[in-house]
Symmetry: C2
Subunit: 476 residues, 2 copies
Amino acid sequence: MVEELGITVKKEDDMPEWYSQVVIKGELADNAPVKGCMILRPNGYALWEGIQVYFNELIKSLGVRNVYFPMFIPEEFFHREAKHAEGFNAEVAWVERKHEKEAKYAIRPTSETIIYDSFGKWLRSWRDLPIRINQWVNICRWETKDCKMFLRSREFLWQEGHCAYQTQKERDEETLVFLDLYEKVLQELLAVPVIKGEKTEAERFAGADQTYTIEGFMPDGKGLQLGTSHNLSQGFAKAFNVVFKDKNEKDQYVFQNSWGISWRVIGGMIMTHGDNKGVVVPPMIAENKAVIIPILFEKTKSTVLKEANKLVEELKEFNVILDDREDQTPGFKFNKWELNGVPVRIELGPKDLDKKQCVFVRRDNGKKEFVKLSEAKKRLSELLDVMQEELFNKAKKRLNENIEKVTTWSQFEKAINEKKFVLAPFCGDPKIEEKIKEETAATSRCIPINQPKEKPGKCIKSGRPAKYWVYFAKAY
Amino acid sequence: MVEELGITVKKEDDMPEWYSQVVIKGELADNAPVKGCMILRPNGYALWEGIQVYFNELIKSLGVRNVYFPMFIPEEFFHREAKHAEGFNAEVAWVERKHEKEAKYAIRPTSETIIYDSFGKWLRSWRDLPIRINQWVNICRWETKDCKMFLRSREFLWQEGHCAYQTQKERDEETLVFLDLYEKVLQELLAVPVIKGEKTEAERFAGADQTYTIEGFMPDGKGLQLGTSHNLSQGFAKAFNVVFKDKNEKDQYVFQNSWGISWRVIGGMIMTHGDNKGVVVPPMIAENKAVIIPILFEKTKSTVLKEANKLVEELKEFNVILDDREDQTPGFKFNKWELNGVPVRIELGPKDLDKKQCVFVRRDNGKKEFVKLSEAKKRLSELLDVMQEELFNKAKKRLNENIEKVTTWSQFEKAINEKKFVLAPFCGDPKIEEKIKEETAATSRCIPINQPKEKPGKCIKSGRPAKYWVYFAKAY
C-alpha cells in the first residue's frame, strides 16, 4: 500500500491545509464527486453514531420522541412564514418537475414548515401538549462556497428538534434546557469548551424571536457556531394553524421552539484537539478506546500474540483493536493509529511479557507508562478518564487565555487582529454590527448568558449606550 | 379529545382500508402533504430504531462499518452501468439546476454508483479487502402510483450494504450470509415468517447477476418482498475501475454485493400480526413491553397509584408505561393501548391490591391472568417470550397452510385465484413469466433455496422442462 501517511504541514503554520489532511488521512471523511458535498467514512460515522447515542439518551429522558418527516417540502408551505422564506430563499434546492402540473418541492433546508403543518393537524387540546419530537436527517443548503468538510457543505447530517407548548414561559425555559444539552454534548462528550449565549438580532434564525447558541473558539482564532436553540415566533403557529383548545375551551396558538446540531461539532472536535500527528479523539466518543500493538519477533511471536489476544478479551468493554498484521512494522502502526486518534496505544513485546507488563502511550501527550498486565483494565479506565478531563481543561485554558475584554474601538480592532475572542460592549443595532463586520471581518458570536458584573457602558462602535457585553470574532 | 378511536372495518373484509386505519390510528405513520410520501410518527420510528439497533449489532459483528454518502448522484455516474441505468431510469428524481453549466444530479434511488466510485479511489491492494460498509439513509423513487404506507412511497428509509471481495467464492458466500441476517430480522425480531430464495431473471435487481430475497406472505394472500441481497455483475467494478493489486501484483477487478431492507418490513409486521383492535407489536421490537392501567376510585386512588408507581419501577427494564390519566376511563385506555399494540396490559385495582396481585392481559389473544405482585417481573418476562414465539408460530402455520404445490396450469390458476402461495415447476423463461403475469396477475416471488425433493418436471406454462420449483403469488 503506497500512501503518504503523515500530516505534511503543521497546525500552527497552515490550519486549513492541516485540517483537510487530518480529516482525509485520518479517514474521517473524503471529498465527494459532487460539488460542495463530502463523504462520511467509517471513522467519521462512528463519531456521529456516538453523538446520536449520547444525545438520544438525553432527549428521550425529557420525553422527546424521534420521527421522520419527508425531505420534500411543498413550495407553497415554504413561503407561508415570510421571514423564514426570505432567510432560506437563496440556499434552497428544488426537485425538477416531471410534468408542469406537478407541485414544486424543495429539498429540506430545515423542516419547521412541514412539521408544523402536521402539528396543526394532530393537535386538539391542551392535553396533547407539550409535543416534543426530533429527527436525525440529511439537510440540503445549496451553498455557493466550496465544501469545508464537516463545517460547510451542500448536504449535511443533523438533528432537528421541534416542540410545541401551551405557554410562553414553559417554552422559554425548555429552549434553554436544550441549549444545556448541547453544552453537555460539546463539553462532556467531545471535550470542546463552549460559551452559551443569545444571538444578536442580525444573527438570529429566520423566523425566531430569540436564537440561543453555543459558540466554540478554534485554535486559529476563529469562532465556530456549534448548536442553536430557537424561540420561534408565533408566525409559524399562525401560518400552519397550530391551535389547541385551552382549559376554558378557547382556541390558542402554541408556543414553539426548534433546536439543532449538525456533524459540524465533529469539525470543532478535530480542530480543537488534533495535532501534527493527526486526529485526537476524546476517550468518551472514541469507538475504540485503545489499540494493542504486539512487538513480534520470530521466536517469541506465538507467546506474545497469545497474551495480546488475552488482553483484547480482558479489555473487551473498551472495544480494543489488535493490530497483529505481520507485513507492517510497529513504527508504521504507531503512525497509523496516531493519525486515526485512538486514545491509548498499548505495546506488548517479549521483554514486557517477561516482566508481566505492557506499555501504555497516551495519544494526546505521548506519555508512556509501564503497566502490570494484571492492572491493565483498571489503569486503562483511569487513564481514559484523566485524558478526557485534561483534553477539556487544556482547551478551556486556551479559550480563557484568548478572551479579551475591550471597551474602546482601537482595543477592539487590535484584539480582532490578534485573533482574540473579543468581549465588547455593544448597542445591539444591526446596522452597527454590519459596519463592524465590514471594517474588521468580525461578526458577533453571542451575547453571553453570563454577563460580566460591570455594566457595559458605551458601545465600542456607535458610542451609544451599550445593551450588553457581546463576543465578537472572525468566524467559520 | 374528540377522536374515532377504534378500527371501523374488519381485516378479513377490507384489508387495504383496515391497514390504512391501523397505521394511522395506531399513530405509526400519517399521510404527508407531499404526493406519494408518508410521515413516520414516534410509534413507527421506535420500531425502525429497534430494527436499526438489532441489525447494526449483527452486521458490526461481521466487520461491517456504517458510513454516509451524498444523496446527490452525478448524472454521468448513473449511466455508466447500462442495465442499472435502464432499470432505474423512470423512477429517478433530479435536482433542478440553478445554472445551465451546473452538473445534473439525481436524488439517490440507490447508491451503488457513487459508493463504487469511492471504492475505486480508496482501494489499492488485496490487503484492503474485503471492504464492508453500510448506510441507513433516505431513498427517492418517483413512483407514479399512490403511496401505500410503509409499502410503496416516493421517499423511504432503508439500509444499503455494499461489500467488495477478492474472489467470487467469498462474495457469493457472504451475499447469502446477509440474506440470513434479514431472515433473522424478520423471523426472530418481527416474528414474520419468510421464505428464502433467488429471484428469477425477470425480477433481478438492475445490474445483478443474482438477486436473493426473503419473501413474506400476507393474510390477504399477497406476497411481499421483504429484503434482497445481490451478487452484482462486475459491470460496476469495470465502470468505476474498482481494481486491486493481487498477491502477484496483478490488477484484478473486485467482486461485489449489495443488500438492503427498508421500512417496508414494518408494513409486513403490521399486516401479519395486526387484528381488528389495531396493531399487535411483537414483544422483542416493542418500545414499551407493557402498559399499567390503575383502576382509580376516590377512596383508594392514592394507595393504587403508589403501588402502580412501585410496579413501574420494578418493571423498569421493560420500559413500562403508566397511564394514570384521571380524565379518561379505563375502557378508553384499554382501547387506546390495544390500538397501539403494546404487548401486555397490566390492570391494577383496589381489589387486586387486597390480594397483592394484578391482572395481565395479552394483546394478541386477550388472555387474562392474575399475577402476584411479587412475581410480576418474572411472569412478564416469561409471557413476553411466549407471546413472541406464539406470534411467529401462528404466522408460520398460516403460511404453511397457504402454500399450494401444483403441477398443471389449471391447478395453478385455481390456486392463484384462491389466493395461495403457489409452488410450481417453471422453465425460467422471462417471456413465459410475463405471460403468467398477464393471465393471472401473479408474479414469481422466488426460487426457494430449499427445493422440494422431487424433480420439477415440466413447466406449468410452457410445458418445457422446468428448471426449478418457483413460488408465485400476486404481490404488493
